[in-house]
């Protein structure tokens, strides 16, 4: 018998979060304020995602946590253990077996299904925050659908770098209305925001919850002559040879050697198990 209430939070807190999630789903991309609680982990460790997961989980769920795509980083392991202890849910590292996936800064490579829920940990939920620091003003801008400033930012990218250089936290417009911060996922993941699963976003420190229902139109902002482009490192994965996955660059030594590996560890592992071999895995075997 667990000494915690199911999924740690008290029932009144969960009801408050659940009401915010429902309003978030009803107005896709709009940031719903909620009374974020202090969690037994520091801000920046996913307290928003954890609270949304706690309000969403049922005892029958299978829970997966990824941090930058990896299942085995401190943050992911801690949150997985947290819910093993407080909710008694099954956990997994396999994307296909999970019913609720909490993520920091990546969308899994495997296509998510209708029965899955993706919960994002969001540091700064307001896409306009670095352009306009005042909350009163950004609220007004959202209410008036005044997003010219965001296009100016993208335009300045082009004028300085010759291309839209924003490579992560790339702003999107949801359902033709709200400009939304997709949490800092790489822009490679932006096209996947239109998916079959329910997407929930929780920002603990900033006290905001927002959501994207399944099959919702999500458009990355761009210009006719500079269209949006989902980019990744121009290499195959050195372990599994995947050419379609987002890659991390890893420095190997002080002689300039480096390798590229899938950021999604489960995707890479499942491909390696299936017999796919990348450049360095070949050398290792030889």
């Amino acid at each position: 018998m667990s000494e915690y209430n199911f999924a740690y939070l008290d029932e009144q807190t969960k009801r408050m979060i659940r009401r915010a999630i429902l309003k978030g789903l009803a107005v896709p991309g709009y940031q719903v304020p909620f009374a974020s609680r202090e969690m037994p982990m520091p801000y920046g460790w996913g307290t928003g995602g954890v609270q949304v997961s706690a309000a969403t989980l049922t005892p029958e769920d299978t829970f997966k946590v990824i941090d930058q795509g990896a299942d085995d980083t401190t943050n992911a392991v801690s949150i997985r253990k947290f819910f093993e202890n407080t909710a008694g849910v099954e956990t997994t590292e396999e994307t296909e077996k999970a019913t609720v996936i909490q993520t920091r800064h990546r969308i899994p490579e495997a296509k998510l299904s209708e029965d899955q829920i993706l919960v994002y940990q969001v540091p700064i939920p307001e896409p306009l925050r670095f352009l306009e620091p005042r909350e009163t003003e950004t609220r007004k801008m959202h209410s008036l659908e005044e997003y010219g400033l965001m296009h100016v930012k993208l335009y300045e990218d082009i004028s300085q770098h010759g291309a839209i250089s924003t490579s992560y936290a790339y702003p999107v417009k949801v359902s033709d209305r709200y400009v939304m911060e997709p949490s800092p996922i790489p822009k490679f993941d932006n096209p996947k925001l239109e998916m079959d699963a329910i997407q929930l976003f929780g920002a603990g420190r900033e006290q905001r919850i927002y959501a994207v229902p399944p099959h919702t139109k999500v458009v990355s902002l761009d210009f006719e002559d500079y269209p949006f482009e989902a980019t990744k490192a121009d290499h195959p994965c050195d372990l599994c040879g995947a050419e379609d996955s987002y890659l991390d660059e890893v420095i190997m030594d002080d002689a300039g050697n480096r390798m590229f590996v899938c950021s999604d560890t489960d995707y890479c592992r499942s491909r390696c198990t299936a017999g796919h071999v990348g450049r360095l895995a070949e050398e290792g075997a030889a």
Binding site: F6, Q12, R19, K23, V27, L57, S175, I198, T216
Partner: protein, 191 residues
Amino acid sequence: MSAQTQFSGGFQNAPVDAAHAFRAAMTVMARPGQIRTVVGSVPPTPLSVAAGTLLLTLCDPETKVHLAGKADTGAVRQWLAFHTGAPLSDAVEADFAVGTWQDLGPLDQYRIGTAEYPDRSATLIVECTNLHQVGAALSGPGVKGKAYLSLPDIPRFQRNAALYPLGCDFFFTCDDKIAALPRSTQIKLEG
């Protein structure tokens, strides 16, 4: 009313029953046109199991509840007060309203949120005599292609959708079944 119904009929295992009910409520709100089952409460008549369970899942002392028309009975008031502690209010101030479509009355009396805070709007729980995936054609966020739902009305839901991003959100309940219609959904009558 007897003490037995006032104090009974709540969740047997509140955290788990509420978690299951919320998942169903979230699923239908995210996927307009889909129908799910919610159980766990036994509310006094005339409330349906689904409406009662939804109230126990979402309402507490922080939310004002409007009992519309025939749903406003002494038994329901006492049951709701005991299990949720939610204050009762009129339609104008309500966060949640429950009743039949006729009893809920004109939609323009409910809160639709403000331009800067569209989430500050009422959620209406509409008790229906039947709930099927036929009738009005739904499209928009959460719907792949088209979905169909037996709505009790069409023009009034269309007017509500036209207020987007303001407007009310709706749950439809019938026995232990629920469906939902968020303000983001476009509604069309198909012949």
